[in-house]
Structures are given as C-alpha cells and as structure tokens.
Amino acid sequence: MALDSKIPHGEMDKKWTDYKGHVKLVNPANKRKLEVIVVGTGLAGASAAASLGEMGYKVKAFCFQDSPRRAHSIAAQGGINAAKNYQNDGDSVFRLFYDTVKGGDYRSREANVHRLAEVSTSIIDQCVAQGVPFAREYGGLLSNRSFGGTQVQRTFYAAGQTGQQLLLGAYSALERQVALGNVKMYTRHEMLDVVKIDDKARGIIAKDLISGELESHFGHAVLLCSGGYGNVFYLSTNAMGSNVTAAWKAHKRGAFFGNPCFTQIHPTCIPVSGDHQSKLTLMSESLRNDGRIWVPLKKEDSRNPKDIPENERDYYLERRYPAFGNLVPRDVASRAAKERCDEGYGVGTTKMAVYLDYKDAIVRFGKIEAGKSGNDNVSHEEIVALGKKVVEEKYGNLFKMYEKITGENPYETPMRIYPAVHYTMGGLWVDYELQTTVKGLYALGEANFSDHGANRLGASALMQGLADGYFVIPYTLGNYLADEIHTNSISTDHPAFAEAQKAVSDRLNTLINIKGKQTVESFHKRLGKIIWDKCGMARSEKGLNQAIEEVRALKKEFWSDVRIPGEINSFNLELDKAGRVADLIELGELMCLDALDRNESCGGHFREESQTEDGEAKRDDENYAYVAAWENKGDSNWELHKEELSFDIVKPTQRSYK
C-alpha cells in the first residue's frame, strides 16, 4: 500500500487556504444525520468534540476518567506558542514554521507544520474569548515569554498552569454542547476496539468501567484523541492512566503507526528517589529561562551546593552552547545532563541529577526591583528578598510543587533535576487531513505523528492539540463526511459489531483467567526498565536487539503468569490496567524495531553509532529522511512503509545551537 499524504499542491503559504477554499462541505441538514465518535477529551478531543457539536454533527465523546476535565493535557505547565508577534520581536508564521521544522530535526511534514503555524494565532483568540485567564501586563494586554529552542517571545501562559486553563476552556465548550444535546458524553468508558465495516471505521467497542459491561457505538467517523504512549517507560511525566490502547487497537485494525521510536525526554524533571516511585514530575521548561544549570567541576563532589564556589561549577549548557545557553532544545539539554552524570559529575544521593539554580536570577530580579524604588542603598539581603518575590510571582507554583515532593526549599537550595520521558512525537500515521490509513478513522493531537518530527519544541503540544481540534478537523472531516450523507446509521446488531465485541470479551476473559502469580504493576515496571535502558536517551544496535528479545519474553510471561483479582463484570481497575500494559508491551517491541531501523541520530532519537566527534547527534538525510509507517501483520510481525519527506522551504542543515 502506497502512502498518500494528500499534501495540497501550490505554494507552502497558500496550501491550507486553497484547501479550505475547495474542500467539500456538508450542509446543516445533513450534519444532523452524521454521527462522529471522539475518543479522549484532552485538548484535541475536547476541542474537536465541542467544535463538531457546534457545527451540528451528532457527537459521542468518551473518556476513561470520571470527567472530561481530568485528561492529561491538564498537567501541561509552561505555555502555548502562537505567531502573534505581539512583542514586536520579529516573530511571524514563517518563523514559527521554520523553528518547528528545525526543532523537529527535519523529520516532520512541512505542509502540516506550516498549517499549524498559520492557525496558531486563531487558537489564542478563541481561548481568550472562552475566558481563559492568560497572564497579562499592566496595560491589560497579553504577556509572553520565551521557551526552549526559540529566540522570540511567542509563548502565552497562565502561570504554570497553562494546560489546565486551556483544557478547562475546551471542557467548558464541550459541556456547553453536552447541555445543548449535540454531544453525548461517556465518562469512565474506555475504547477497546475499532469496528470496521467495508474497510471503513464505523464505530467502537467501549467498556463501561463501572459496570464492566461492553458497549457498541456506531459512528460515521471515529476520531482518536487519546494522547501519547510515554507510559511504555513506566516512569514518565504522563498521568497514571495515560495509555496507548485506543491507538494500538486502531493499529491492529489497519492504521499504520508512524515513527514510534520518536519519544521526548524532557530535561527538567524531579529525579527518581527510589524503587517505590510511580511517576515523575516535570518542572516546567520555562524554569530554564531564568535558572542556570550546572554540576560541580570535580567528580563525585558531595559538598552542599551552597559551599561550591563559582569557579568550581560547570555551567555546561552555557559552556557548550553559548548562543542558546540554558535554552537549547529539550533533546540537546537532556543528553547533555546524561553525559555529565554518566561521566561522574552527577549530584544528589543517586548521583543522577544536575542543579537548576535560581541564585543569580533572584539577585538579578532583586536589583531590578530595587532600581524601581530609586533607592541606591539597598542591602544584599533586601535585594534577595525582593528577587524572591519576583521569582515567586513567576514560578511560585512550580517551586511549591518541588518543595512538596522533595522537602527542600528551592529558593535557598538549587533544585535537583534529571531528564524524564515526557511526550511521544510518534503516533498513528495520518495524512494532511489527519486521516489514518483506515478510512473514516482520524488521529488528533499527541496520538498522531505529524507535526513535531523527531523532537517537539516547548509550548507546541498545546498548540497542536487545539489546532487539530478547533481549526483542522472541522474542515478536513467534512471532506470525508460529504460523501457519507447517504450512509444511514448502522445498527450495532451488525455482525461486525458482534464480532468485535466478542473478540474484546474473549480477551478480557483470557486475561482474568490466567490467574498467575505476578501483578500487572510488576510487569509494567519491568517493561519500563527494558525500554528506558535500551530505547531511552541513547540507543544502539546491540541494546535494541537485546531489548526486542527481552520484550518478547516479557510478553510471553505476562500472558502466562499475570494475576488479576476480582471479577470481569465489575469495577475492576486491575483488569483495566492489565489490558493497557499488554498493549504497551506490544508497542514497546515496535518502538525498538523502529529505533533499530533508524540508524541515524535525529532529535530525541540518539543512536550511539551515529554521532559527531564531539558527541552531538548526527543525522543521515540521505538514507533516513522518511516517516517510518509500520503496518501490523499479526503477532510480532510488521511491515515498514516509508513516506519520503521533502524539504522545499526549510533546507535541512545540521542543527547547531552553538
């Protein structure tokens, strides 16, 4: 099967306008007859469900949480990018497009990224209209800040809770449509299969997580907005419930999986403290705007950081990358931290951490504040006190969070940070219309692969989720549904629904009847360790081959020795988790296969075999400028399809942040 990305012809900056001008439309009377299923209610899902409901489609939305407002988009901290150029610092749609393609290390699709940059400005307008309380200046206009990998201030934010505020905006729009009867909301429901009829997606099998009962739901189209698969690593900044199941079921039903090995390790997370650890907490990247990252110059230096003088500190990002300093992109910052720790310069009890220090920022802010008062005789203590106040206003909630977890006061002692899995750029392969390789089945937001290439820039995930949901799918879905107006709703008595429901039911029965000895959690931890060690921040042919063997063995062991207590037709959290872990195990194998295939380093994917003399990632455009789209051919069996990428505007160069 040849992949058709359906990129419109014409000039890059006219493609989306031309597409919208010629796309098929569905008239309002017909929209009322067309049913759309939306799985997941994060930024992509909630915005899509709300927008499609407003347009008049009949929407059914599903989330596994107790309310759509809980989706993990809520935890995004730092901000959302938009090419508004409100700061008059030279930003433009072109620059956002350029930065995103470059930041993605030339492994994303130019046309999609350009569209993303174009619609970015409308997102901010929409959110403000919904009552999203973005940070403002004293004049009453919106405030911006800069973020890793860029040199302009284009990031809009609401303290360190931007994701929460954007999601609550989309959630309120969604609930408004629920009240109007345009959207029917199914909470505590999990999608467990896609139903295909005549090669088109026609619905889903969902499980009511309270009663344990399976349900069939028809839709003229199915939208998967189910997020990323970072929990394949067990420890990640994802929520505990985040999973790959919806995307994986779609994959098993024919949707190709794009670039699964492209995962993002975020540089500023709170380090692991022990074996009991269940998840990792991110400290927003915005902290790198003002904080300075360092390790001691001496190996195994266990002095209190306050006792280490300036000339015995190595501000290694500023040293290695003078142009961007502490603001290098995430993949670069993460690898640099790993390099220092691997060399023995790490700090803290585990020695797997570096310092993020606000000492200088506090003094800098304090001096500015003191200057405002016009008083020249301000003592150092007063300056520090003033500076702390500024830091508290900008980052207070993050500092509080750090203190709660570690018991240390980051205003006094530098924070300890270490990279952790945060986001997955890979996901279901989609064309320009966000349609997967299954007709009528779409993937939005983090669940698709399309916009971030091999590395995502900060504050771009929120932008993409909302772009897909508010401003892309309302157009592209119509292009498909316009031809479906003659398709009447299909009864869920159709054999395809019965067959899919039986398959789901059989699988649940198999799982619960294994009655082995080991818990689901213990398997998940073991999976995470294999993937983190061998398919994490550094990958090699030898390690990946080992990992594939280990994951296959783990899968076998899981299906013969997992223990799931409780009953099948009841509220059974262990059974829910078992299904998710089983899917993550299969995905883990594919990730390693993909990483093995891609013998180049690009973005977050670092192959030890492919690096420059000074240890920087070395891309291989001649052989690997493609999207790896994997087709599932049965148990542990995949076929690789390639979508060749062409870069007509942003010519690939070796990324340099020096």
């Binding site: 915005s47 709300a50 927008s51 407003e54 107790d66 309310s67 407002r69 809980r70 993990h72 809520i74 935890a75 508004k84 409100y86 901010i124 929409q126 403000v128 209209a129 919904q130 009552g131 309380p133 403002r136 009453g140 206009l141 919106l142 609401a158 809770q161 994701g163 505020q165 609550l168 309120s172 609930e175 408004r176 629920v178 009240a179 909301m185 909470t187 309270i210 900044t237 929520a239 505990m240 022990g274 009991h276 650890q277 269940s278 998840k279 907490t281 991110l282 969070m401 709660k404 977890i405 018991g407 401003f471 818990t519 959690e521 213990s522 223990r563 207590p565 409780g566 509220f571 959290l573």
Partner: protein, 255 residues
C-alpha cells in the same frame, strides 16, 4: 531531609459497590519510606493485597502531580490529609511517623455517591458546568486576543478562581455538603472577565439552580472549604457568588 522507614496501621473504607454497605478494614504495613507519596504507599498496600489473593483497594488518581483533581481521599478526618493546599497525590509519607494509625475514607456527601471503596461519583460537578459554566462562543467567532484589554488585577483574580481543580474537597469537608466554593470559583472567573459579561446573570442563576437540584447543601460560612481547598480558592468567591446571584435575581425580576 532525613529519610526514615515506618510501620503503619491503615483503616480503609471498603465498599463493593454503590448498593452494598461498606465498612472500615484494618491493614498493617511495614517499612514504608518517608520519601514515598501517600498514593505510592497505597500502591504498596495494593500489591501486597494482590499477592495475598485479595482484591486491591479502588481509589481515583491520575496525574499524581496535583492538577487533574481526580484523587480524593479523606485522611484522618481531613480532605486530602494533613498538609495545607495539597492534594492527596502530593501528600508524602514524611507527614507521618512510625506507629501511626491512618484512617482513609471516601468523600462523604449526598451528591457524591460511593461507587466502590474510595471512589465516588462527582458527575454532579459536570452538570453544574453544563448549566452555565462557559462562555457561549463557537469556534471561529473570536476577535483578536488583544482587542479587549483586561485590568491585570481582574485577570489575576479570574486566574486565581480558575485554578479550581474540581476535586470536590470543598464539598467533602463542608458539614452541609455545599458546593458553593466550586460554583463561586467558576462564576467569579467568568464574572471578572469582560467576555463573560453577556451571560453573567443567566449563568449564575442556572448554575445555582443546578447546584440545588443535585442535592448540595447551603453555605453557613464556616470557611472549612477554603481551609481544605488544595488550590487555596478563597471564600471571597462565595461572597461574589452571593452578590452576583442577588443582582441577577433582582435584574431578571425587573425585566
């Protein structure tokens, strides 16, 4: 920070489903690290229960970083436990000491029926939002984001109110099971912003009507909700709710 290990007695509410009666059951835990989070301590207990062939304790949780609002435990008589402005998932075991007995119950409120063990049904909150917790602006309708300047103080106050995570601790802790802090926070956020102006009156009337319909109690100004709110949402939002409600009532009567 000194690390230590502790042995604990846990008394946890177990209830099979919403129809059957529940009761507190006692569990012994050994060697819990002070560095664990409270929910990681529950993970340890659940792993132990599964290995012993028993059913693990059902509890709601997701982000484990204090923002999704899903976790909801009533710990030793306090919503989200002993720490101020804190969710259950952010509570760490250094809050306890060796030999402690910890009692854990679900949110207790008529409007939040127990589904299983520590899991309750909070869908009443969604229905209150459906009644008016939004600004009616369809996608694509918006003007430029900087077209309307908003007083920074109003914007900041709106943000402070919008920080509510919808966990329900305010209801659980209130002796009347009142949802006034939750409703007041949303009404305040949207009343403080010019975008919320056109629907200001219908919003507050409809949300309050739905709140009453769901069976939440009234506010008698004990301020327990503010004290237990993990996000420190101020009771001044309840005052604003009352004032908005009164004004809207008078205004619609005269219309």
């Amino acid at each position: 920070m000194e690390h230590y290990h502790m042995n604990l007695t846990l008394k946890v509410w177990r209830q099979k489903n919403s129809r059957e009666q529940g009761k507190l059951e006692t569990y012994q835990l050994k060697g819990i690290s002070s560095e664990m989070s409270f929910l990681e301590m529950f993970d340890v207990l659940n792993e132990q229960l599964i290995v012993d062939g028993k059913e693990p304790i059902a509890f709601d949780h997701d982000c484990r970083e204090g923002i999704c609002g899903m976790c909801s435990m009533y710990i030793n008589g306090q919503a989200h436990g002993p720490w101020q402005q804190n969710t259950t998932c952010q509570l760490h075991m250094r809050a306890f000491k060796d030999g402690d007995t910890i009692t854990v119950e679900p949110w207790r409120s008529k409007a939040f029926p127990v589904l299983k063990d520590l899991v309750v049904n909070r869908s009443a909150f969604d229905r209150i939002i459906q009644a008016g917790g939004f600004i009616s602006v369809n996608t694509g309708n918006a003007v430029d984001a900087n077209a309307i300047a908003i007083d920074k103080k109003d914007a900041d106050d709106a943000f402070m109110a919008a920080a509510c995570i919808g966990c329900g601790a305010c209801v659980a802790t209130c002796k009347n099971g009142s949802a006034m802090l939750f409703v007041g926070a949303k009404v305040s956020q949207l009343a403080l912003l010019p975008q919320g102006g056109p629907e200001r009156e219908s919003r507050v009337l409809n949300m309050v009507a739905q709140m009453d319909k769901e069976g939440f109690g009234n506010c008698t100004n004990t301020y327990a909700c503010e004290a237990e709110c993990p996000k420190g949402i101020s009771v001044s939002n309840i005052a604003r709710l009352n004032s908005e409600y009164l004004k809207a009532g008078l205004s619609t009567e005269s219309k």
